[in-house]
Assembly symmetry: C2
Homo-oligomer: 476 residues x 2
């Protein structure tokens, strides 16, 4: 493809993107497809001699785009807000267009240094102290794995350089809760910790926050049995019900064991942009690592997850490689982000944040987050006031967990659970809105995650009508 | 940013990208900056109230873009070809514009199924059998880590689900060579293998290919000592000198131990698109996993690395999570790529391949690879014919390793080594061309990696003149 062909096709594509954003509300939130449908539409080999970009765009429009769940739709309340601010998309396009290669400082000095700049902007905007250094990871899952491996090497005295985990004589324990994100357990297992050595600490039955007294008990028992409390993963704003584990009390327990403290604030970290929410993050200065995702509520397009560390030198020792063909000729003082994570090569992801923060500006981003908090609070109040409906977990930020109990089923927990899964599924299938069915104490509930960039109060009013219709319909 | 503002700014950005590609040859390959220069230019906070996209583009042009190494420049011969075909950039823009979320099949059915389609297109185009299933990873480093963890769990009988590595009584051995990519050792250590248990098998002194007789000896010794040969990483086309480890002979040795065979063909895998090169990849059907990077020589923009597996079900068991909020309501038959790797969330990376393969077409891609092979071969012949120059490793594909030995320094290995590092650095600093200095047997050489999309024969002719100038200049 020549630059001139690219120019023409690029203009058409940009128009298509702008038009799609303008018309998002006219489409169903969720596509009506079954597994295999899209692949069947795309059957056949790629054309040997190539084809026109216009033909590909036509297929994108007619075959591919109708098969995505429209997470930018204002009636999308599933999983978490997966916002993609248009300013950040522009930054992503700039990154693709620059086509630079991040394998060392030298391979693209700007790629490294813009990353240093934007990660520090966000450190400052979220009120973190200057002792934190950050790096962009693809996702919080990966950030958690990186932290787990760093913690493993701290606990074993950097044993990977010698006899490794196999040569370490004592069990290494991981502490978290059942409310923690699924990626925490996955990261622990991938890092080589044993399933047998993962401790799920009790949570408060109402808030689902970790109970530090139980943590203290468990750590003491493990240490007494010859184990090493290696890492505790603290959820600040869990995915499920926005649990906030009490970090200061956890740090009091963990510090005597020199246990690595990793804070997973993937979803809720955006709230640190609001000074009035920072009390929820009290004690952060006592953690070793922290990750949160601008690619969720804050609105920078995927994949933009931040990992901050208090001692990046430890991570660099764990992750470093230095073969001759990657050796920089520019001295040792440059940051080599390849030593801050798993992949060697990186895209210029910092431009997404640079564009987003510069064009939209922090003020507008904060105003939007405050709008969402007010909307979620308003929505929770409406639910609480409605007969047969209840808010089943504290609304700490923008997620509202709800359950409908039809009078005819009251008292039959299992039937109520089935009913809630059923109406959520039917609502989702309609394409009018999308919620995540979730479980709490083994029973199905519905999570309403407020915070898509385009979601206004009117959309929540519409959602209330839909809840009445889909939940009510079945119960009558 | 509104859709209409995005439309205007997007058009300007597309023009900027097209213009940059047209003018790439007018810029130096390597920027003349020192660590910290770019960050200093960008000092200051993001503007609270936001700013115009035009101001950001102006800074991109004046402050950021001059600080990248131009890996799309036809005189870039460093590291490896990090091609970004404009058609694949278009696919990347489409992905950003769709802004869909890949956390499950349900969150974006098209994202999953287009990936299945393109990964299968490339399986077929590279002559791999239909028993292989693939997935896109960000890089070969990550793919290697994923394979290492899968191998670890095969070797321990899925011990992560129980007492983990610590509970496994016997050493787990990793086999590779010193010629393997640095990411291999890193992946082994991150996966929890011990440095003490990594075996660097002897290589042929001329080709740097693994010597299977030494592998047999080492595996037998390790097994006799109570160890478990867990994984062998086979380089097919190494980064340094394009070594091809003899896979069939390695498989003969490894299979009796049930050792996982991972093939790293990150750089050279593109050659599998050419039937006349497939003999280099003989024995692939005996490997357990294979990764190669369309984002290198083939030309799809970063980050597009492929990982193929013969038994994806094993990987899924190792990587799987299934929390309630991610449970699909669409039955169990859909592919859930989150269980094929580390991150939960994924971008719609398949569109880069879909656009690239459809618009350029396999025929054009193959023709370009053949052009590069012919150019590298021609260049090696020119070097071999030149007094004082030598080709110091076999030219298996498109990388030519060269050394200059000035008559005045002949016999003084250390001085010759210094001389070669010196002229490469001076050439790189000039911005006229870029080569990777590399070491072979402890001495500096220069690697000329041919294969940037825009590199034609005339650019190699120009490179010969530059070699004469920079190497000759110092030696006279």
């Amino acid at each position: 493809m020549t630059p001139e062909e690219f120019r023409t096709a690029g203009h058409e594509l940009v128009d298509w993107i702008a038009d799609r954003r303008l018309s998002v509300e006219q489409r169903p939130v969720r596509p009506d497809v079954e597994p295999g449908d899209i692949a069947a539409r795309l059957a056949g080999d790629p054309p040997e001699g190539g084809e026109d970009a216009a033909a590909v765009l036509a297929d994108l429009e007619q075959l591919v785009a109708p098969g995505i769940t429209e997470v930018q739709h204002p009636m999308h309340f599933g999983w978490f807000p997966s916002n993609a601010a248009l300013s950040s998309i522009l930054g992503d396009i700039a990154s693709s267009g620059l086509s630079s290669l991040g394998i060392s400082w030298e391979s693209s000095p700007s790629l490294t240094e813009v990353e240093e700049v934007v990660v520090d902007w966000l450190r400052s905007l979220t009120g973190l102290g200057s002792q934190w250094s950050g790096v962009i990871q693809d996702t919080a899952s990966t950030a958690c794995l990186v932290a787990m491996i760093a913690a493993r090497e701290q606990a074993t005295g950097h044993n990977q350089a010698g006899s490794g985990l196999l040569g370490f004589g004592r069990p290494l324990h991981v502490y978290t809760t059942e409310e923690a994100h699924s990626s925490v357990r996955k990261a622990a297992l991938l890092a080589g910790f044993a399933s047998d050595d993962i401790r799920l600490i009790d949570v408060d039955p109402h808030t689902r926050d970790m109970q530090p007294a139980h943590l203290a008990e468990q750590m003491a028992a493990d240490a007494a049995a010859g184990g090493q409390p290696a890492v505790v993963v603290v959820s600040l704003g869990s995915t499920g019900v926005t649990a906030f584990d009490p970090l200061p009390a956890i740090a009091d327990v963990a510090e005597p064991y020199n246990t690595w403290i990793h804070v997973d604030a993937a979803m809720a970290g955006s709230a640190m942009l609001l000074p009035e929410c920072r009390h929820l993050f009290e004690g952060l200065e006592r953690a070793d690592s922290l990750s949160w995702n601008p690619h969720k509520w804050m609105g920078t397009i995927l994949d933009t997850s931040l990992l901050y560390l208090q001692d990046p030198e430890h991570l660099i020792r764990v992750m470093s490689t230095n073969p001759s063909y990657l050796r920089s000729t520019s001295g040792g003082e440059a940051t080599q982000y390849r030593d801050w994570g798993i992949p060697l090569g990186r895209r210029f992801r910092a431009l997404k944040l640079w564009y987003h923060l510069r064009i939209d500006g922090p003020e507008q981003i904060r105003a939007r987050l405050r709008r969402d908090l007010a909307n979620a609070s308003w929505f929770a109040d409406q639910i609480a006031d409605r007969p047969d409906w209840s808010v089943v977990a504290p609304v700490r930020l923008q997620t509202v967990c709800v359950r409908h109990t039809p009078p005819s089923l009251a008292g039959d927990e299992e039937a109520v659970s089935r009913h809630n899964l059923d109406w959520v599924r039917r609502l989702n299938k309609s394409g009018d809105a999308f919620l995540s069915p979730s479980t709490l104490d083994g029973n199905w509930i519905a999570r309403v995650s407020v915070g898509v960039e385009s979601t206004e109060r009117a959309h929540l009013e519409r959602l209330l009508e839909l809840l009445d219709y889909y939940a009510g319909d079945l119960s009558t």
